[in-house]
Structure formats: structure tokens, C-alpha cells
């Protein structure tokens, strides 16, 4: 036993898989202890906030202001509002409005802005301009106001009695705050999703739930497969025929179809995470049963088993002491595979809208489901779905690697 474990950990593939899986597991366990935000809390008003560090603007106005004189500050400011494409667009408009082309110099910001301000008229009809372009120019014009000014902005508060604005402070263009001194800063490494939830926190919790589902489903499937395989393989006869028949039946009807039908029949109310896990387990034991049965058949005629039979041990005793240890390796491998299949099955079901209820627990599949419904891939909101897919792939990949590694340990022929 000890020797086997030593061998297992020396296998390259197993180690790689293990070293991917264990950190994921650790993160799932440790992260909620450190970061205690509730994963399903809706924190953003608005969908799909991009990843980043969110600094409370109100608090930064009240924090200590430091003056930094940086050379490129003004250029950065202008570039963020007026890209090269914008300049070209402005030139197009001016030309269409009748300004001769050689008088327009898009590299001279001041001159360009002057010309723009003098000539831009939102109501002027330009031939061939679509409504979308018209709106674009209006937005551009609004964003250019005060672009080149060097004065700061003033902060004003409404007087409770008179309703008039009274200036309470000034923000100069060279004022900076230190993020560490701003009381309200929230880091959102993966932004928010369509519900307004913190994606990273929800992802960690969802991974945990999906792993649990995989675990439960794996246990259920392995137990069923083990029992049926043992029964069929060892007892033989009618029991074997029946189990083989049942196995064939389940092979023939595609699992996904069964899953869809059963999930739908259960209905949304009873579809908790645990129920889904059991359902998945009940439909995916086939492969385990087959593998176990094949092994048991080859084992039952071995000498030590015959010896036990002659000694008069009961069937249960024989199975437990003489057969199980030899198929343990297969069972472990099957279990690992079952977990990864179950996680995939749950994700598949959730994407179809047949997964667990949305408000109780998040799962990986549910996060993908909502990301697709709110069209995240097309809108370029990669943080809503890509990390989930990567997590799923990493988990299944690492489990399969571990499985292959174990396979190599138990079947030396496969070692490279």
C-alpha cells in the first residue's frame, strides 16, 4: 500500500494533475475564510462591470490630496477622450461640412478643436449619414467640452435651505490620492456578471458547489457501478444477465437525453444541487459497472479466491477481502473520472436551463448559463464566461491527468 502510494507520487502525470487540482481545492476552501463577502450578493447596479480596482469617488474627494507634477498627464487626458479614430472622424465631418481639407490638421489638437467648436452643428444634415453616425458625433462633441482647459473642477454642495450650490472645495488637475488612504476601495479581479455579483467570489463558491456535486454524483455512480459489477461478475447467472441487460439499456439511451428528461420531470422546485448530483449519479454508472465486471470475472477463478471458497467463507467475505482489494485501483480511477464527468454533466444541464435553482447556490454551469443569456460572448465580456470555462477545463484536465498517472502505475505496460 505504502509502496503503491510512493509509486503514484513519482508518476509525472499524476503529479502534474495533482498539482493543478490541489491548489484549486485549497482556493475553494481558504478563499471564503479570508474574503467573507457573500457570493450571491448583488453589488453592482449595472451589469458586467469590467475587472479592475473600484475606488469610491466621493471618498477620494475627501481624502488627503497630493500634488504630483507629471509631464504626460495632460497628453493622457486628451488621448483618452480623443483617439486617432475620433480625429479622423472629426476631419470627415468637417470636410463634409465644407471646410477645405488642406486646412485641417488632425495632429494639432488645439486648432482642430477650435475648428470643431466653430463649425459643428448637430442639426446639420450631411448626406448619407446614418442615424448611428449622427449620434456618435453628438456623443463626441459632448465629451470634448473643456478638454483643453487647465483649470480644475469645483466641488459644490446644495444648501439645504436655499437650494443653491455652494462651493466646498476645488480639485486641481494635478491632485492625486493614494488608494490605500481611500476608505472604500473594492478590488474586482473578474468584474461583475449579469446579476451584478462579484464574479471571482461567486466563481470560487460555484467551484466548491460543483466539486461537491461531482463528488456526490461520483460516489453514487461508483457505488451503483461497483455493486452491480460485483454482483454480475461474481455471482454470474441470472444476476449477471440482468445487470448486463440493464447496462446495455443505459448505454443505448444517451445519458444527456435521460438527464434532460429526468431533470425536467423533477421540476424546478425540487431541483436542488444535491438532487441534481444524485440524478447525475444515477445515470452515469455504466462504465464503472462494465469495468468492474470484467475485472471480477477474470478474478473469480484465481487461486486465492478458490481457496477462500474451499475454506467456506461467505460470499460477502470473499468479495470484501479477496476481490475488492484487487479492483481497488480500477474503482479509484473510475471514481475520479466520474467526478469530472459529473461536473461536465451539471454544467451541461445548467446551460440548458435544467440545473439547480439560481438563488440558492451558484454552480459553474449556472454562471455560464446566465453569461450566455445576457450575451456576454458577443459583448466582449470575457470575464463572465472565460474564467468559468477555464476552471471547468482545469478541473477535468487535472483529474484526467491524475487518472492517467494512476493508470500507468497500475499498468506498467503503459509507462513511457
Amino acid at each position: 500500500m505504502k509502496h503503491t502510494i510512493q509509486q503514484v507520487f513519482r508518476s509525472g502525470k499524476f503529479l502534474v494533475g495533482f498539482s493543478i487540482f490541489v491548489p484549486i481545492l485549497l482556493i475553494v476552501i481558504v478563499y471564503p475564510l479570508i474574503i467573507t463577502y457573500p457570493p450571491l450578493e448583488i453589488i453592482s447596479q449595472g451589469t458586467f462591470f469590467p475587472p479592475g480596482i473600484y475606488v469610491n469617488v466621493y471618498d477620494s474627494m475627501g481624502s488627503t490630496q497630493y500634488t504630483l507634477k507629471l509631464d504626460n498627464a495632460a497628453a493622457n487626458r486628451i488621448a483618452s477622450k480623443l483617439s486617432n479614430d475620433d480625429r479622423l472622424a472629426m476631419k470627415d465631418w468637417l470636410v463634409a461640412a465644407g471646410i477645405p481639407e488642406n486646412e485641417i490638421d488632425i495632429t494639432n489638437t488645439q486648432a482642430l478643436l477650435d475648428q470643431w467648436e466653430k463649425n459643428y452643428d448637430p442639426t446639420q444634415k450631411i448626406a448619407g449619414m446614418t442615424n448611428a453616425q449622427r449620434n456618435y458625433y453628438i456623443r463626441l462633441n459632448n465629451s470634448l467640452k473643456g478638454l483643453l482647459s487647465t483649470e480644475g473642477a469645483s466641488i459644490a454642495v446644495k444648501n439645504a435651505e436655499t437650494g443653491a450650490l455652494e462651493e466646498t472645495g476645488v480639485v486641481a488637475q494635478s491632485d492625486y490620492v493614494n488608494i490605500n488612504q481611500v476608505p472604500n476601495v473594492r478590488v474586482l479581479p473578474l468584474g461583475t456578471n449579469s446579476f451584478g455579483r462579484d464574479v471571482l467570489t461567486e466563481l470560487v463558491k460555484a467551484t466548491g458547489v460543483s466539486l461537491q456535486i461531482g463528488f456526490v454524483a461520483g460516489i453514487v455512480a461508483t457505488l451503483i457501478g461497483l455493486t452491480l459489477g460485483l454482483l454480475g461478475g461474481y455471482v454470474g447467472g441470472l444476476a449477471d444477465d440482468t445487470t448486463m441487460f440493464a447496462t446495455n439499456l443505459f448505454t443505448v439511451i444517451p445519458t444527456i437525453v435521460l438527464l434532460i428528461l429526468i431533470s425536467y420531470s423533477i421540476g424546478q422546485e425540487k431541483r436542488g444541487a444535491f438532487t441534481i448530483a444524485v440524478v447525475i449519479g444515477l445515470t452515469s454508472w455504466v462504465w464503472t459497472a462494465r469495468a468492474v465486471r470484467a475485472q471480477v470475472i477474470s478474478l473469480r477463478n484465481r487461486d486465492h479466491v478458490n481457496l477462500s471458497k474451499l475454506s467456506g467463507h461467505s460470499i460477502v467475505h470473499i468479495i470484501l477481502t479477496d476481490i475488492l482489494p484487487y479492483i481497488a485501483s480500477y474503482v479509484v480511477m473510475a471514481f475520479i473520472l466520474q467526478i469530472s464527468t459529473a461536473i461536465l454533466a451539471e454544467a451541461a444541464l445548467s446551460i440548458l436551463g435544467l440545473g439547480p435553482k439560481t438563488t440558492e447556490v451558484p454552480t459553474l454551469g449556472l454562471m455560464l448559463n446566465w453569461a450566455f443569456i445576457y450575451q456576454a460572448p458577443i459583448l466582449g465580456k470575457w470575464w463572465a464566461y472565460l474564467p468559468v470555462i477555464v476552471t471547468i477545463v482545469l478541473i477535468t484536465f487535472s483529474m484526467n491527468l491524475m487518472n492517467t498517472g494512476l493508470d500507468q502505475v497500475f499498468n506498467p505496460a503503459l509507462r513511457d
Partner: protein
């Protein structure tokens, strides 16, 4: 080659054939019964749903009730389940799958007719191409060993574990939305009507690429791993070592080896057909590709049990037949089976 020694072998083969046929029929009957009962266990009364839709605005209860009764009569949902079953069997034999509840008054046969060709056209080539390429790669890896194998194994494991929806979405985003090399939806050009012009056929081919490759890549990975394991087993078998020592050319040995290694893979091919619809389902949804998987999904959502029964029946028949044919083929190809039967 295999020499058939007279009547004994033939009789053995017959026994094998009959055995397989028996299993085929028995499994089919049970699967058929299952196909019939499972969808009908779903909650919600689809007839009531159709009637509600048709009776919109009707304010008198008796009017609605009358329509409801008329439709349950038409669909036969008011009869006991046993009776419904026999009617169903008789109709199926005649090719009449009944009316689709969710798309009334279209018949199920009509709905399936349009969908099934797309699924077959998408999945069959995908499975076969994936199978061929995957097995070739796996065999090569086992044979060549060394660097090629070291690269292929992890890559195959990685890709074969990709969920179909993940692969489909990533391909959609990269090749469809960002690079715009391929269209993102539909079976053929959105501005085309099916006809036999070159333009249409080309459009179908172009629209076919992304769904096809998102399924094939994963299949390749899976097959490569399996074939590689089998090949390694075989390559280390005694008869190979013996043949090598005897001085038989490598190429000849390789032929034998791969013929033996391929046998379990053929069984895998049959199984893959069973998962065909499941795999196609996601590709069809994400790429808006017409086909059976999405029809099935809609049927489930609409509580449309004639449609669901029909689709699952077709799937069952396909898988069973594929299994059956392959087992027969197996019997022909693998002499060990004949030997085992002729005892």
C-alpha cells in the same frame, strides 16, 4: 486469412448471430417502452397548454372545456396508458408519430424530417473524421514514441476534456466574432433559400465548419488517447515480440497490431453514435444550427411528448442498430469470437 472449417464454424457463427439478434430485439422492446413512458411522466398537461393558447380570450368556461375535450380526444390523452401505448405502437409501425403538441398542427414526422438530415450530416462525418484522425494519431504516437508521443498525450488529454459548449463558445468568439473568418449562425447563408446552386452548397459548407470542428477536435483527442493505450498494449504483446525475433518485417507486424488494437475502438464508434445527439445539442444551440438536438430540447421545454418519444426512439434505433451491426462486424473480423463460439 481466416479459414472457415466447414459446418462447425458456421454453426458457431450462427449461434453468435442469433444471440446478438435476441439481445437487440429484447433491448429494443424495453427501450421502446421506456421511450414511451419517460416523457409522459413529466409534470404539466401539454394539451391544456395548447388549448390555453388556442382559446385565448374565451371567457366562458364551458367553451374552453369543450375545446379541451376535443383535443384530448384527438391526441388520445384521455385514454388509459396501456391503450395509448398500443395505439402508439401501431401508429409508429406505419410511420405516423402523431401531432406535435408544441407545434400543432404540424405532425411530428414533419418536424423531424427537416431536422434529422442536418444532425446526421453534421454528426456522422464529425464522428468518423474524428475517429479516423484520432486513431491514426494515437497509433502513430504509440508506434513512434519519443517526442511526438510526449507532446501528443497531454495535448490530447487537454482537448478531449474540453466540454463541447466550451469549445463551441471559444470557437464562436475567436473565429466568428473576432476574426470573422466564419459565419456565426445558421445552416446556410441567411440570405439564401435551399436550392442546388453552387453558391448554396458553398454556403452550407462554410456554415458547417465551426460546428463541425468544435465537435471533431474533442473527438480526436478522445480517440487518440484510447487508440494509444490499446496500441501500447498490443505492441508489448508476446506475439509481437516473437514475430520481431523471428525477423518478420516491422510493417507487417504493425498491420497485425493495429488490426487488433482497432477492435475495441470500433465498439467505441458505436457508442459515439449514441452520444451523437447530445454532442450535437450544444453545437446546435450555440451556432443556431438546425438539427435534432435542438428539436429535442424544444420538445422537452414544451412538454411535447410525441416529439420527445419520436426523437428518443430514433436515437435508440440508431444506437442499437449501430451496436448490432458493429457486433456482427466484430464477429466477422475477430477470429477469437468464432473460436469461442465453436466450442
Amino acid at each position: 486469412m481466416i479459414i472457415i472449417t466447414g459446418g462447425a464454424a458456421l454453426k458457431g457463427y450462427l449461434k453468435y448471430f442469433l444471440n446478438k439478434l435476441l439481445w437487440f430485439l429484447v433491448t429494443f422492446v424495453f427501450a421502446f417502452i421506456l421511450n414511451f413512458t419517460l416523457p409522459r411522466l413529466m409534470p404539466g398537461d401539454p394539451v391544456r397548454a395548447i388549448v390555453s393558447r388556442l382559446a385565448q380570450g374565451l371567457s366562458d368556461a364551458t367553451g374552453v372545456q369543450a375545446i379541451y375535450e376535443q383535443y384530448t380526444e384527438l391526441f388520445g390523452t384521455n385514454k388509459p396508458i396501456i391503450e395509448q401505448f398500443f395505439i402508439y405502437v401501431r401508429n409508429v409501425v406505419r410511420g405516423d408519430f402523431g401531432f406535435s403538441f408544441s407545434m400543432y398542427p404540424r405532425t411530428v414526422a414533419d418536424v423531424l424530417k427537416s431536422a434529422i438530415w442536418w444532425t446526421l450530416a453534421l454528426q456522422f462525418p464529425a464522428i468518423i473524421v474524428g475517429w479516423l484522425i484520432g486513431n491514426t494519431l494515437g497509433a502513430l504516437a504509440a508506434y513512434l514514441k519519443g517526442g511526438f508521443d510526449k507532446v501528443l498525450m497531454p495535448v490530447s488529454i487537454f482537448i478531449s476534456n474540453f466540454p463541447v459548449f466550451g469549445m463551441a463558445v471559444i470557437m464562436l468568439v475567436i473565429f466568428g466574432v473576432v476574426l470573422e473568418w466564419f459565419p456565426t449562425s445558421g445552416g446556410y447563408g441567411f440570405d439564401m433559400i435551399p436550392n442546388s446552386s453552387w453558391a448554396f452548397i458553398w454556403s452550407v459548407i462554410v456554415h458547417y465548419q465551426l460546428p463541425f470542428w468544435s465537435i471533431v477536435l474533442i473527438a480526436i483527442g478522445g480517440q487518440a488517447i484510447g487508440m494509444r493505450s490499446m496500441s501500447i498494449y498490443e505492441l508489448n504483446a508476446d506475439y509481437v515480440k516473437y514475430a520481431r525475433f523471428m525477423g518478420i518485417k516491422d510493417r507487417k507486424i504493425v498491420g497485425y497490431v493495429f488490426r487488433n488494437a482497432v477492435l475495441p475502438q470500433i465498439t467505441g464508434l458505436a457508442l459515439a453514435i449514441g452520444t451523437m445527439v447530445g454532442g450535437a445539442l450544444f453545437a446546435e444551440i450555440i451556432f443556431s444550427y438546425p438539427g435534432l438536438g435542438y428539436t429535442l430540447y424544444n420538445g422537452v421545454m414544451g412538454g411535447d411528448y410525441p416529439l420527445i418519444s419520436a426523437v428518443t426512439l430514433i436515437i435508440t434505433v440508431m444506437v442499437l442498430s449501430a451496436n448490432f451491426i458493429i457486433e456482427i462486424l466484430y464477429g466477422i473480423i475477430d477470429p477469437r469470437i468464432k473460436a469461442a463460439q465453436a466450442d
